[in-house]
């Protein structure tokens, strides 16, 4: 008899789908947090902005295992035809996508790739790229 762990083959399936709606809810309700200690919450439905695309956004993190933002970065959001552009004018970098989250995610990937590239090539950078690398290090740090 084997003493090692035996693992079943992983079954990959499509993501789940709900087919039966709940008929008993008619507005946004938040009951309680389950994090200890319990948190109480307020629900706000008044004075909401008319659109879900702001003119700017404070980006809090890069969602990367090795890199993080030193401080939240102000990101400008502009629309160009059917695309949204999320940009950081200070370093002239941007990301784009069909909606806000996609544009911000693209900007995150741009920042991560730029940081990693400049870090790897830092001994060979010219004056402009050296300046960009310095500015990027003010925004991003390694964990």
């Amino acid at each position: 008899m084997s003493e090692g762990l035996e693992l079943e083959q992983v079954q990959i399936s499509q993501t789940g789908e709900r087919r039966t709606p709940d008929p008993d809810t008619d507005r946004l309700i938040l009951y309680r947090g389950t994090h200890a200690p319990p948190t109480s919450v307020d629900v706000h439905r008044e004075n909401l902005p008319t659109g879900a695309t702001p003119e700017s956004l404070l980006l809090g993190n890069l969602n990367h295992p090795h890199l993080r933002l030193r401080e939240p970065i102000n990101v400008l959001i502009t629309r160009e035809d059917s695309l949204l552009i999320a940009s950081i004018p200070d370093i002239d970098e941007f990301g784009y996508g069909p909606h806000l989250t996609a544009a911000v995610e693209d900007l995150r990937q741009t920042l991560i790739e730029l940081f990693q590239t400049l870090k790897a090539e830092q001994s060979r950078l010219g004056p402009d790229m050296r300046q960009l690398w310095d500015r990027l290090q003010h925004l991003i740090e390694e964990r």
Partner: protein, 135 residues
Amino acid sequence: MDAVSPHGPSPVVSAMVLCDLAITEQGTNKKTLVGIFQRVNAQVFPVPQRMFLYMQMTDAQGTYIFRIEVVDIDRDNILGTVTSNPIEVPNRLEPFDFVFPIGMIIPAAGLYEFRLYANEAYLSSISFTAQGANP
């Protein structure tokens, strides 16, 4: 002036999950998520839905006010927001999690999103698709 002002590094979101039911075990505070989904299939719209939003975060230390925006992506419309009271997170190395039971009306078929903010900084999002009955 508020006694508690939000401050601290922006947390990293390690999990954000939509599900039919989230059960919290008393004592251990362990979570069981039942019926994880990313699509809602309805016969007619608008349709009321109750769901649970589970979030796990780390790399937080300080006082945080979390806000969730419920967004109708296709119509670029915020359906509602949920804002927490200030929450104190003592240890940056220890993950913490929340379960938010949420009830909402889905106005039409399309793409919807929950956007998570901490101290007004955008952290992450999760989306689901609402679709009509099969053609």
